[in-house]
Every structure is written in C-alpha cells, then in structure tokens.
C-alpha cells in the first residue's frame, strides 16, 4: 500500500524515444481513450452536474433543475455551518498532528533502528490493521470508549475516575488518528529509509546534541515524506464519514455527515448537499495545490 497518492511521477525516460512511439501499434487514443472516457463520464461530468445543482436552492428529487443563484452558498456561510466547517478542519488538522507526532518515532525506529531483516515484516505488521474493515475498527473503539466499556472497566480496577468521551470530539479524534496513523507511518518510513546516517554521525562528532541534529538533519532530510504524509492524512480525515458518524455525537457534525444527511439521511436538500460537496472539493484541491507549490520550493533548498 506504499503507493497511496505519491506526487505525480513524470515518466521522463520514456518521453525520450519519440521514434519508437511511431512504430507502436496502438495510437495514444486507443490507450488513453477508454480510461479517460471512464473518468470523464463518472467523475468529471458528475462534478459539473453537482456544480449546477448547487446553484439551485432547495432542490429535491423530482424538481426541475433551473440554476437560479448562489442561495445554497450563502446558506453555508451562516455561522452554524461555518462552525461545522471549522470543526471538520480542526478534526483533520488534529488528526494530522497526532499521527505525525505518534507516527514519526515508530517510522524512525522501524526504518533506522530495528534489525534489517525484520524491517519489512515490522512495517507490514504495523499497517496490517488497515486491511480490516474500517467500520469494524471504529466499532471496536465504541466498545472501548463507551461508559461501561473496556477503558472504564480498566480504570475502575485502579480506582481511577471514569472517562466519558464517547459521542464527543475526543472520541472522533481517537478513532480518526487510529484509522489513519498507518498511512503516515508508511510514507514516513519510505522517506526515512533513505536518510543518510553518516550525516547524523558526523553531526554527533562535531558536538551537536541529538535534539539539534534532529531538527537540523533528520527533519529537513525527511521533509518530503512529512509533507506528503501530512497531506494524505489531512485529505482522508477531512473527508472521513465513518469515525465522526459512529464515534461522534449530537454535537460533532462534520461536513461529510452533513452532506450524507442531505442525500441519504433525514433531510433531503440536494442543492445544499451539492454546494457543500463543491466546497469540500475546492478545499482539498487548495490543500494539494499548496503542497505542490510549497513542496517544490523546499526541495529546491535541500
């Protein structure tokens, strides 16, 4: 699963054989046409359609689609929905920070400190939970965090006060960090693996403290991995539905849940749902664009 959304790889080496291309039996459209058509039909056009739908206030199935204004978007900017967006954003940022803080030492240990022959196995073992149903993993956290659950039974043994966090934001954060930590470790691992240990040794010889060499060498050297991992976790957690839905409560509405409710839930406002989706697509694209720009400048420095 190493390949989740790496930066676009530019196939430079193959571009250099224009003569061979002429000899090939298949034209570019025969190769690129069918998959392109599939994406256009089932992704690009649908996105255009929800954009059009987002311009129809209060539309529900069976209504006539007649784009007539930005009402849906102005509705989003009511304070209550701004709060929902802010909450989603905070969940995503929180998850990213938690995964980075918890994931970095683990990735560092697997990539650089564990015995070489175990490394692949250790990595696989860490990301193995990703292979189970994400719904069941969230559900397991319900059993752990509920008032009469595993955590409180455990705390009870030591006469510690019970923790009541299910149906609140901390529970969502726990579930999301747990779900997406393996992605972070995976990406950090592949960038830490290439870290030049000699640099660290040299720094130590020159009298740098471990903290200094961490900030001056380890972090800059693995910056690409940190950025890519953070972006990936940020994107996935921004769009996550399962954890907020199952672990959250009456006061942890997120954008994904709100969108879901407009289509398959108790309220049916397809126009409002579409405009929320457009905002989400826009936010994620902005995050990616930011990374591409920022990522390039930093790689120039190194």
């Amino acid at each position: 699963m190493t390949q989740t959304a790496p930066p676009p790889n530019t196939p430079g080496s193959l571009d250099s054989v224009p003569n061979a291309a002429k000899k090939h039996w298949v034209g570019p459209w025969a190769l690129l046409g069918p998959p392109g058509l599939w994406l256009v039909l089932l992704l690009v056009l649908p996105t255009l359609v929800i954009f059009e739908l987002s311009l129809v206030p209060g539309i529900r199935p069976g209504d006539l689609v007649n784009p007539s204004g930005l009402d849906n978007y102005t509705q989003i900017f009511e304070s209550v929905y701004l709060r929902v967006m802010l909450r989603s954003l905070l969940f995503a940022i929180g998850t990213t920070v938690v995964s980075l803080v918890l994931g970095f030492p683990v990735a560092y240990w697997i990539a650089l400190m564990s015995p070489k022959r175990w490394r692949n196995l250790l990595l696989v073992a860490f990301i193995l939970p990703l292979w189970t149903s994400s719904l069941l993993r969230s559900y397991a956290w319900i059993s752990i965090l509920r008032p009469t659950g595993v955590l409180n039974s455990f705390l009870g043994i030591f006469n510690l006060p019970a923790l009541d966090i299910l149906n609140q934001s901390p529970a969502v954060l726990v579930g999301m960090s747990y779900s997406f930590l393996p992605y972070m470790v995976l990406i950090l691992y592949s960038s830490l693996e290439k870290l030049d240990l000699k640099l660290l040794e040299a720094a130590a010889d020159l009298g740098a403290t471990p903290i200094q060499s961490f900030w001056k060498i380890t972090v800059p050297q693995s910056f690409q991995g940190i950025a890519a991992g953070s972006l990936l976790v940020f994107i996935i957690s921004l769009g996550d539905f399962i954890n907020p839905e199952l672990l959250g409560g009456a006061s942890s509405m997120t954008v994904s849940r709100l969108i879901y409710n407009q289509f398959l839930g108790p309220t049916q406002n397809w126009g409002f749902g579409s405009s929320l989706s457009m905002i989400m697509i826009f936010a994620v694209s902005a995050a990616v664009a930011l990374l591409i720009r920022y990522g390039n400048t930093s790689s120039g420095k190194v």
């Binding site: 039996w25 025969a30 839930g265």
Partner: protein, 366 residues
C-alpha cells in the same frame, strides 16, 4: 488506425458536448424522474422488500417461501425520508414492497410513487379494527395496508434514574443529570413534533413561529444529548450506557424483554401515533408476489405470530383475539384508550417541510 482514433476522439467530444448540453441547458431538466423499469428482471421467484429494521425475521421469510416458493430479500432503512430518498434516486427499482408510515403514504401517493392495490387479491382487509378500515392518510386503504401501529415515547432505565419519567418535560428538567445519557430520534418530524407537543402545539404545526419555538427548545437540550439516533440506542440502553431514549413503542417492547429495569412511557402531554403500512411502488417488478406478501402478513395466524416474535402491534382484530393475555394486555404495545386519545398522527406539512428541514440541519449542525 488513424481513422479509428480520430472517430474515437470525435465520439468523445460528442458525448461530452451532449452531456454538457444536458447539464447546462437553460430550460432545465427534471432531477431523478423515477420511471418504471420495464426491462427489470421479470424474475417472479424473488421478492425484494424495503422495510424497517426488526420488521421481518428469518422464520417469517422461510414460512413465506415455503408457502409460495418465492424467496424474499430484505433491505432496511431507518427513516421514512431515507426510504423516499432511495426510491427517488433510482435505487429502489427492485423493491416490490415498501413500508411507509401514514404521512409518508400520503406524500408518496401525491408523488405518484404507489400503485393502487388489487383488493380482490388481499383477504383479511375487513378484519382490521375500525379506525384502520378507512384511515385519513389513505381513504379506504386504496394504496396501502396497515401492518403495525404504535406510539413514540420514552424508554428509560428506572434503576439508574431512580424515578419514572411522565412527560417530555423530564428531559429538559433533568438535563444536567442526564448529560450524554439520553438520545433523541434522528427523525425530523418525530423529534421536532415532540418538542412542539411539549410546548402545546400540534405535531403537524405549520405556523413558523411555533416551529421556531420548538427548534429553540431542542437547541437548549442539545448540548446534553449523547446523540440523535433512531436505532442505535437499543444496545446501549440495555447495556446501561444510556438512561433515557426516545424511541418507537415496538422497539421499547423489544428491549424491555432483554433488561427488566427498562420501561416505556407515552408522555403525558401527548405523543405521535403512527401506523406503518405495506405498499407497492409503481416501479415494482413483481406485483404478484407483493400482493401475496400483503395477503400473507394479514392472515390472523401470521399477524399474531409476528406480534409475538417481533413485538408488532397488529391492527387486525382476528389476530388480536389469538394473542395470549400477557401480550394483548401489555400497555406499551396496546395502550388504553384514554392514553391514545392524547396522541396524534403525523400528517404531511406541505410547504413547511423545507422549514422543518432547515431547522433540523441547524439543530444537528450547531
């Protein structure tokens, strides 16, 4: 080869142009116009049913299959609105039976989503109790047949509360003590309705002022709620994580049998009285089996046995008479008339639907 790829490109451009034209034409198009699918697999050996959780069980389906040779596939939903959404978005083409509640029957009938029933193929319609013979939501049961009825009230754990709630007010009065130990339903009309009723309005209020007041009252309660959920409270109240939950009477009877500390009350200021029905969508691919199913479910022995095993409240007099006294005298399932007199059925609220939904979105988002 060049010709081939050129025509492919042309095809691509044409398709794109056609689709763009569709989506950007100024005259507008109709979103999700549900039509009957004539091509739908005319497989008469299968019956697809769309119903509430806990409305069928394995034994029931096996009995039907044994009698008719038709195998049954059941999908479930948790609110009338979710069911309607699925049908309207074209995801319900295979269903021959749906279980809309009273007000939803009316709404679906107005949207031309329901078939008129062939009464000759359904026996047992005359054995329904008087009020169900000619219900206001569907005169003469032309499009739907009642299958179960009940109320919406409060399920509570008398041990952890130390008292028995009597009215909706209990939630508001005790809210600090009940922090994250109570749930309300994830259902616009039921939850808004309960709040309306507590303030002395009708469940079907269309006065914007009344709706706003009900919304504000719920807003006050919200920080203390564990969740809005129609189904997910059952496990958790049995396990003792919750103290009070708003729920349907049929679910309440189910959990009462699993934990003796649990009780059910119909709030004194009144609750909603609902009827769930069986109906056949216009798109139904297998209306024959659908009629057979309705006929089967109305049979007194079947209706009585599901009343026992799934804690339905049957609207059939013949079935009611077959019930053992401990069920027919269970006040949660069959409340006395004076309690029922305070209850009120939901009715479509027409243009106010959008207002209800707007407030609901605000309530659940804040």
């Amino acid at each position: 080869m060049a010709g081939g790829s050129y025509s492919r490109r042309a095809f691509l451009q044409q398709t794109a142009a056609a689709a763009m034209g569709l989506s950007l034409s100024s005259c507008g198009w109709r979103l999700a116009n549900v039509r009957p699918t004539n091509t739908a697999s005319a497989d008469t050996s299968k019956l697809y049913i769309f119903t509430w959780a806990g409305y069928t069980d394995k034994a029931l389906l096996e009995q039907f299959t044994a009698e008719t040779g038709v195998s049954v596939v059941v999908d479930i939903y948790d609110s009338n609105e979710a069911m309607l959404a699925k049908l309207q978005s074209g995801g319900g083409g295979a269903y021959s039976i749906v279980y809309p509640s009273d007000y939803m029957v009316r709404r679906m009938r107005d949207l031309d989503l329901l078939q008129e029933l062939d009464r000759d193929r359904i026996s047992g319609l005359d054995s329904l109790f008087e009020p169900y013979q000619d219900p206001s939501y569907d005169p003469n049961n032309r499009h739907s047949v009642p299958v179960s009825w009940g109320t919406t009230g409060l399920v509570y754990n008398r041990k952890s509360l130390g008292t028995e709630p009597q009215d909706w007010d209990f939630l508001w009065d005790q809210r600090e003590k009940l922090t994250r130990r109570m749930t309300l339903m994830n259902d616009t009309r039921e939850t808004m309705g309960a709040s309306l009723r507590r303030l002395g309005f009708s469940y079907n209020a269309e006065d914007p002022e009344a709706i706003r007041k009900a919304f504000e009252a719920l807003q006050e309660l919200k920080p203390f709620l564990a969740n809005f959920t129609t189904d997910a409270w059952r496990d958790r109240i049995v396990a003792g994580d919750l103290s009070v939950a708003m729920g349907y009477s049929v679910d309440a009877v189910g959990v009462e049998s699993e934990n003796p500390d649990l009780g059910y009350v119909i709030p004194a200021s009144g609750a909603s009285l609902w009827t769930d029905t069986m109906a056949i969508p216009v798109t139904a691919p297998n209306p024959d089996a659908a009629h057979a199913w309705i006929d089967f479910m109305l049979r007194p022995d079947v209706a009585a046995s599901v009343t026992k095993s799934l804690s339905f409240a049957t609207p059939s007099r013949d079935a009611f008479e077959l019930l053992p006294p401990d069920i027919s005298e269970n006040p949660s399932l069959f409340p006395p008339d004076d309690v029922l007199a305070k209850c009120e059925g939901l009715a479509p609220v027409g243009a106010s639907t959008a207002l209800y939904e707007r407030y609901w979105n605000q309530l659940t988002s804040g």
